[in-house]
Structures are given as C-alpha cells and as structure tokens.
C-alpha cells in the first residue's frame, strides 16, 4: 500500500481508539469491573494500542523517507553545485519540497465553496507528535490507575465543608476520570492529525472542554469548579481571536485546508500572463488577500467585464495579471498580519501566554495526572503546535509579536515561581515559563528549536508533575512547607525528579553532551542570539531569555531541595510518607529515560546536536520556505541554519551553561548549604516579594478591569429583564385581565346576559299573560270556537269577494 494511505489508516486508528474507549466507558463505565476499575484498563489499553500504532507509523515513515539529512556537523555546510548561495545548507532541488500526505476522510458538509471535512495532514511533525502524545499519555494512564485508586470507593472530601459542618462524602468517580482522559486523548490527537483549520478549531474546543471537565473533576470544591470556569473562559477569549483569524483566511483564500493555504501563502512560483516568477516558497501575500484589501479595484474589474460572454473568466484573468502590482503596493499585507495574529491569539489562550496565562496556575486544582498530561505536555503544547503548523502564514511582524509575548511570559512566570510554595504551582509557573520559551523560539525564527523544546519539555515536565503527584500522594499535602527530607523515604521519586530538574535547566557539558533539555534550550538561545544580532535593537530578548534560564534553574532546585533534602518540616506527614506503588513509579522511570535520551544524537556523531534522530525528523517537517527566514518592515527573521554556525553555537552553549549553573549555585546556597537565609532576603525585598507572591496582581487586575464590569453589565441586563421586561409583561397581564374583566362585565354580563335575560323575562311575561286565556271554563272555550269560526268565515268569504 502506498505510504500516504498506510500512514493515514494507522493514525486514523490510533486517533479513534481513545474515542471508542470513551464511548465504552460512557455507556458501561460503572459496570466495568468492581466499581468501574476495568474502565482504567480499557482506557489504558486503547492508548497503549495507540502508542503501538504510532510507533508503526513512525517506522513506516522512517522506512520510506529515512531520518532526513543531518546538517552541518562541525564543518560548514557544503554548497552543492547549482545551489543558490543564500540558501544555507538546505538542498534545493526538486526533491526537497517538504513531504507530507494530506487528504480527507469524511466530508461533513459542502456549501458552495465551503468544504467542511474531517481530514489529515501528515508530515514528520504529525508522526512525531503522535508518538509523543500517545507515549506520555500511556505512562500517565498507568500512573493514574494507581493515583486515582481512592475513587474506587466512597470518598470523603476534606476540602469541601457542607452547611452542617461535615465534610462531603460522595461515591467514587473512577471510571469518569478515565472517560474524560480518553476523550481528551481523542481530541488532542485530533488537533495533531487535523488537515484543515476548521477541524482544528473543532478539536481545539473539544480539548478545552475536556480540560474543563478534568480540572473540575473534584467538582464539589469551589476552588476546582471556579478554576475550571476560568480555564474555559480565558481559552474562549483566545478563541475569539482565533475565529477572527479563521475568518480572515477563509474570507480571502476561500479554503480551510492547510495544504491549500500554504500553497497560496508560500508558492513556489506565481503566474502572470506574461511570465512565471520564481518565488521559492517565500512568504507571499496570496491573491485572495490582495484583492480582499483592494476591493474597490476588484469591483471595478468585475464591473468592466460584467455583461460580457465569459465576463467572469476575463475578469479573473485581468485580476491575475494585475495582482502583482497591487501586491507590490502592499495590498493584502495587513490582512495577512491579521490572519496570523488571530491564529496566534488562539494559541495564546491555549498555551497560556501573557496576558491569557491566568488560568494555568489555577488549573492545578485538578488531579495530578491531569496536570501532568493536559497542562504540561499536551494541551498547552497544542498552542505551540498550531503556531508551528501555521508558521508559513506568519509575517515577520507577527513573529516579532510572538517573540515578545513569549519573552514576557517566560520572564514573568519564572519570577512568580520563585516565591510559590505549592509544589504544583511552582511546576505550573515553570510550565508557563517554558511555554514562553517555545513561543519565543518560534518567534525568532527557530522552528526546529521551538518544536524540539516542545517535545523535550513534554517528557520532563510530565515526569516532574508525576513525581510531585507521588510526593503529594505520600504526604497528603501540596505545600512544600509540609515537606522536607523525603529523599530517604521516596528514593525513586526523588531521583527521577532530580533527572527532571536537571533536564529542565538544560544541564549538560557544553558542546559535548547533555540531557534533552540541554539540546533544546541550547538551540533556542542560539537562535535568539542570531536574531539579536540580525536586529540590533532586539538583542535584549536574548538577554532576557538567558536570564530566564538562570531563574529557572533557581526555582527548580529550590523545589527539589525543599521537598527532598533537609529536615522534615512536618513530622506527622513525614512519618506517613512512603514510596508509591509500582504502577506509579515505573512510568516515572520510563519517562526519565526519555527525558534524558530523547534528543541525544547517536554515538557516531555525538557532538553534533543536529544529528539527533528527533532533530532530523523535525527538520523534515519544516514548512516550505521557512528555513530561509524572512524580512519585512525592518525586522529580519534569520534562517535557522544560521544558528548552527560554530561561533554562535559555542557562545550560546556557554551562556546557557553559565546561566543554568549560576541559578543552580544560588539555589544550593540558599536551600542546601543554608548559606543565605531566604527569610532575610524576603524581608529586604519585601515589596518585590509581595508583588511576586501575588502573581504580579494579574488576577486582581483582571477582576477589576474585566470581571467586575462584566458582572455589572450582567446585573444591569438582569435588571432590564426582571425589572423592566418582567414588570411590563406582568403588568400587561394584569391590564389584560382588568380589561377583560371590565369587558366581561360590560359586554358579556350587562349586554349579552342582559339581553338574554330580558328575552326570557318577556317570554315569561307573555306566557303569564297568555296563561290568562286558559280559564278552564268550558263556556268561554265554546265562545272562542264560535268567534274563531266566524272569523274564518269572514276571511274566507270576505277575501273571495
């Protein structure tokens, strides 16, 4: 079978299996096993099958396309004969065009030009993402089977107090958890495999609702349900922008399908009646957008040809001929920017970028497996994934916005993480910060760097969350102030968490080898440096990113030291702490292996980071024309290959290492060797401390700025509804009643009844009167007979005369 069909079938199956699991658990959940225990097996089985299928797909892909070229190594790129000098390293021959397979599985609807389909767009990125998502999801499903075991019986929720002062006692919801997890996996894989932006949007929303269900799993807790609402609403705000972007694209280009959009935005060549212009997949404003902005002229052309035979075709030909002029004049560029910004808005919401970041820390109210799967590795990565997917559409201006947003996010989140004491909150802010890194990487032109960081981050962040879940499970508290000294009690958890921490700070020997995070962070900083060099004024972004790495190292090790080293701060909890069961620590070990080795280059080419299989796969997935970078409006997006140059590589590597080590050192000083007392520092920088502790006052700002006015408007409208409209309706009802009463009295009772009664009375009177005729006296009757006879005679004979 042809590779495209094979891949599409494999991925379709892998995608739909979680849906089948969801359906089965919805229908039969409570009856599966004892108290629904088998629901866990069903869900895990489905996703495990998904892993197998994804790995097969990966195998098939590699079998057909290989891993892709490794680039650069330590020597400069070879400039092959016939290549253009300004294309760095990428071979530019006919075989280079990015390989992908796209198609439609099912057409939902077709209205005129609008085609809504369920389809796929499979390239190397899709396959890699599938493997990553299913793998992490499988580990987490196993972990969750252990973590959620208390839901198999009735649960007494100590965080919910009822009106009578008691804690809530409710039946367990084990199967429901796995039902939601399965649905989430289905939705996430749907986003990954989607072939058109409409389908992406559908699954975007689905993922959002799954997140809502999962965050609000402990629904009786006010904090949890509020957090679920917050997540969904903030996501929706982002989706508003996404819809605008969608509309911009569809309105001007007339299609939702990725391949068609990309073909129009990054054409290889464009045609005019006189010549064919080679474009080499450079970012070009598509004709649709040009004419969308130059509507006046477009209208004129159509009107000129109206009424002619083949008028529309002639008009189209003329428009094609004139398009280039208008494109050169800059028509349509704004629309392209709007499209890009709109889509990025959706990504901001989903990936919790500033200013839509407020929901992610509160999302930690959900159970830890949820935080591990959804809010660290997959759902929040969906935003980055879509940004990477839609990269060809982004103009340099949009990319600059992305970069700046990413920078702000990474810095802000890192600073807040310094002061947080809830272990999951620290990890949440860490996630925010790392997402900022990913967006930043994409924004400065490092497509592969950003996606690489996405994948490595998925592994070590989910690992970190799961370890924290183990700790929370053992200690029954989220607060690090209740922990300490757990290294002896939970060694496996401690060491796997150590691996995760090292990975996230990018530990490694520069230029030699490192954990997975080392490679991805390195790549990001290198690209940032090149970007800073190309755009002199923007070097500060690189500085901030590097500073962020230092802060990351600090707060991660602060977390590790506070949890596992030192004296136990709560004796009681410490005594009860124990290592987690096998079903929970085996996934930790598996993930830690991945966290170490997922981005490592093979032994043969150990010192060349771009030789790593993962990196090579991702290089295959780079969209057409992206690798060459771009420039517009004074912003230069450097080609990614520039960051692989030796000097940059060395500089970035050492700076990354230096910042990470400095952060680690400070953390050791404060929390391990106790050389600096954190309380003194806190006291000295009290205002800053308070600012950071309150999360930069964002929640309060949003409350005053957005929430209160909305509630106020809501109350006003409610007043209109209740006070005005209801008053009106009630009174209309009352007036109608009064009117009908009066009407009834006047017309019905007085007139109609009166008439009828009057008639009856008259009849009675007549009857009474006529009664007098019946005297009962026979003689009178005789007289009357005679009178009657006489009268008849008179009439008869009188008339005849």
């Amino acid at each position: 079978m042809e590779l495209g069909a094979t891949l599409s079938t494999l991925l379709l199956l892998a995608w739909l299996l979680p849906l089948a699991s969801f359906g089965a658990i919805v229908l039969f959940g409570p009856r599966m096993g004892r108290a629904g225990k088998a629901a866990g097996y069903v869900a895990t089985g489905a996703i495990l099958a998904g892993v197998v299928l994804s790995l097969f797909a990966l195998g098939f892909w590699i079998g057909e396309h290989g891993l892709g070229e490794s680039l650069h190594g330590d020597e400069h790129a070879e400039v092959k004969a016939g290549e253009e000098a300004d294309h760095h390293g990428h071979r530019h021959d006919d075989g280079h065009a990015k390989k992908f397979y796209s198609g439609d599985w099912y057409t939902l609807a077709e209205f005129g030009g609008l085609r809504l389909t369920i389809g796929y767009y499979i390239d190397a990125l899709t396959v890699v993402m599938f493997c990553m998502v299913t793998l992490i999801a499988t580990c987490i499903h196993f972990y969750a089977m252990g973590y959620m075991h208390e839901e198999l019986e009735d649960v007494t929720d100590h965080e919910v107090t009822l009106a009578n002062g008691e804690h809530l006692r409710r039946p367990g919801r084990y199967h429901r958890f796995f039902q939601y997890l399965s649905l989430f996996c289905f939705s996430m894989l749907g986003i990954v495999v989607a072939g058109n932006i409409a389908m992406t949007f559908i699954f975007w929303e689905l993922v959002g609702i799954c997140s809502y269900f999962l965050i609000g799993f402990y629904i009786e807790r006010k904090t949890a349900s509020t957090a679920a609402n917050k997540a969904f609403i903030v996501n929706r705000v982002g989706d508003f922008g996404m819809i605008i972007g969608l509309m911009a694209i569809f309105g001007s280009l007339g299609t939702f399908h990725y391949e068609e959009i990309f073909a129009q935005v990054r054409p290889q060549e464009i045609y005019t009646p006189t010549e064919t212009i080679e474009k080499h997949h450079e970012l070009t404003v598509p004709d649709g957008m040009v004419w969308a902005e130059a509507t006046e002229r477009a209208g004129e052309i159509v009107m000129d040809h109206a009424g002619q035979e083949y008028g529309l075709e002639n008009a189209a030909a003329q428009m094609a001929a004139e398009a280039n002029e208008y494109r050169d004049q800059g028509f349509g560029y704004t629309l392209l920017i709007i499209a890009g910004l709109g889509i990025f808005c959706g990504c901001m919401g989903k990936s919790a970028q500033f200013p839509l970041h407020v929901w992610l820390p509160d999302a930690m109210e959900g159970p830890t497996p949820v935080s591990a799967l959804v809010h660290s590795a997959t759902m929040v990565a969906a935003g980055v994934f879509l940004t990477a997917r839609f990269f060809p559409v982004f103009t340099p201006e949009v990319l600059l916005v992305i970069a700046i947003v990413g920078t702000v996010t990474l810095f802000m989140a890192a600073t807040i993480a310094i002061t947080a004491t809830d272990i999951k909150r620290v990890l949440a802010y860490s996630t925010l910060s790392q997402l900022g890194y990913m967006m930043f990487a994409l924004g400065v032109g490092g497509w592969v760097a950003g996606v690489l960081h996405l994948i490595t981050h998925a592994f070590f962040k989910s690992l970190l969350f799961m370890c924290s879940g183990s700790v929370i499970h053992a200690v029954h508290s989220n607060e690090m102030t209740d922990m300490g000294g757990l290294l002896k009690k939970m060694p496996i958890t401690a060491y796997t968490m150590l691996v995760g921490c090292l990975a996230i700070i990018g530990a490694g020997i520069p230029l030699v080898i490192g954990l997975s995070g080392y490679y991805s962070k390195d790549a990001i900083l290198a690209q940032a440096y090149v970007f800073g060099e190309s755009n002199g004024s923007l070097l500060f972004l690189f500085v901030i990113a590097a500073g962020g790495a230092a802060i990351t190292a600090f707060y991660m090790f602060r977390l590790w030291f506070m949890t596992f080293l030192g004296e136990p701060r709560d004796k009681h909890r410490f005594d009860h702490a124990h290592e987690s069961p096998k079903v929970m620590w085996i996934p930790l070990v598996v993930l830690s292996c991945f966290a170490v080795f997922v981005a490592t280059p093979p032994i043969t080419d150990l010192f060349n980071p771009t030789a790593a299989p993962l990196v090579r796969m991702l290089e295959q997935a780079v969209p057409n024309g992206v690798a060459a970078g771009g420039a517009s409006g004074g912003i230069v997006i450097p080609a990614e290959a520039d960051s692989h140059e030796h000097t940059v590589h060395v500089l970035a590597g050492f700076i990354a290492f230096g910042t990470a080590m400095s952060g680690l050192l400070i953390a050791c000083c404060v929390y391990w060797w106790r050389l600096i007392n954190p309380d003194e520092v806190r006291a000295m920088f009290a205002p800053i401390y308070r600012f950071l502790l309150n999360k930069w006052w964002f929640d309060e700002l949003y409350d005053k700025l957005l929430v209160r006015p909305t509630l106020y408007i809501g109350r006003f409208i409610a007043w209109i509804d209740r006070g005005l409209i209801d008053w009106l309706i009630d009174n209309i009802a009352r007036w109608a009643r009064g009117f009908s009463d009066g009407f009834d009295r006047a017309i019905d009772r007085t007139l109609v009844d009166g008439t009828v009664n009057w008639v009856a009375r008259q009849t009675h009177a007549v009857g009474l009167a006529l009664r007098g005729v019946q005297t009962g006296r026979i003689r009178q009757y005789v007289v009357l007979i005679v009178v009657g006879t006489v009268t008849m005679f008179v009439i008869a004979f009188g008339l005849s005369k």
């Binding site: 003689r779 007289v783 009178v787 006489v790 005679f793 008179v794």
Partner: protein, 207 residues
C-alpha cells in the same frame, strides 16, 4: 190564493223547530230544556219528511228523539238535585253570547241565502240546463219513492242509483258499528260504580 201546502207545512215545522230551539236557549230550568229540545227535534223530523228524506226523518224520531233525548232525560233526572235544576248565568255572559251568536247568524244567513241563489244559477251548460229546465218546469212534487231501500242498499255496499259514492257506504257502516261498540264499552266503563276506599271497613261491614 193557491196555498202551497208544502210550504205551509214547512213553515209550521220550521217555526216550531226554531222557536223551541230558542226556548231551549233561554230557559233556565233544565227539565224544561229537555222537553223543549224534544219538541224541537221532533219538528226537525218533520222537516226531514218534507224534504223527501223519509227514512232519515224516521230515524230522527226513533234514534234521536227516542234514544238520545231519552238518554239526556235520564241524565237530567239523575242529576236534578234542587240546586242544579236552574243554574243562572250571569248577564255578562249573556251579552257576550248574544253578540257572538248574532255575529255568527249574520254571517250564516247571507251565506245560506247566497248559496241557495247560486245553487239555482250555477252552470248553464247544455245538459245541466236541460235537466234543470225539465225539472224546473215540472214544479210539482216529484215522485217520492221510498228511500229506505236505496239507503239500505247503499249501506250494504251496492251503489244505489243517484248516489254519488260509487262504492257505497259499507266501510263507514262497519266503522260506525265498531264505533258504537267502543262507545258502549267506554261509556259503561266510565260510568261504573266506584268502590269504596278501605277493604277492612268493607270486611267489617260485611261481617
């Protein structure tokens, strides 16, 4: 003056009938009423004879005077308690009756006269006028053959000559017979003696 004896007898009988009829009206005593009625009806019988209806006249005397009136006399005798023998009617009633009767008479007499006149003058077609002329010329008493036989034959269903009913009067005859039977039974029932109320008292009386 040639006296038409027919007319004289007519006048005699007619005046007796009318005067005694009026006497019935004006007298208050019921016994006298019965008697005057008897005389009036007898005179009527005479009128019948004069009109050539001998059988009917005979039957008038036999049935009406000798039967019906006797019945009425029985009734009078049965109920002739002293207070009931003469019951006076009020003056108002008399006036009303007089007016009504007068009106009635005023309507009937012109009708009578006129129908008699038109009777003579009706259709002058050839056959009729010839017959009329023939019979008008003879102005003597026609030969009065006895009508009894003819009536008897008619009642038995044989169409008698001169009668206008083609099939005779057998059916009405039968009906009348049944009618009389029914009347007999009914009258007997109506006038039966009523039992007294209490059977115990009856028993006590008998014992």
């Amino acid at each position: 003056m040639e006296i038409n004896w027919h007319s004289l007898y007519f006048l005699l009988f007619a005046s007796i009938a009318c005067i005694f009829a009026l006497a019935v009206v004006f007298t208050a005593n019921v016994v006298r009423m019965a008697f005057y009625l008897m005389l009036s009806l007898a005179a009527t019988a005479g009128l019948f004879f004069l009109a050539g209806a001998d059988f009917v006249g005979a039957m008038q005397l036999v049935l009406y005077v000798g039967g019906t009136l006797v019945l009425l006399v029985f009734g009078v005798m049965l109920t002739a308690q002293s207070p009931f023998i003469s019951i006076r009617t009020g003056g108002g009633d008399w006036v009303l009756a007089a007016i009504v009767g007068g009106l009635f008479l005023a309507v009937l007499i012109p009708a009578a006269v006129q129908s008699g006149a038109s009777h003579e003058n009706f259709p002058k077609n050839v056959a009729a006028s010839e017959e009329d002329a023939v019979s008008a010329d003879t102005a003597e008493e026609p030969a009065s053959e006895p009508t009894a036989a003819r009536i008897g034959l008619a009642l038995l269903g044989a169409p008698a000559d001169g009668s206008k009913g083609g099939s005779g009067y057998l059916l009405p005859f039968e009906i009348i017979s049944i009618h009389l039977l029914v009347v007999l039974v009914g009258a007997a029932y109506l006038a039966r003696p009523k039992r007294r109320a209490t059977p115990e008292k009856n028993v006590a009386e008998e014992s």
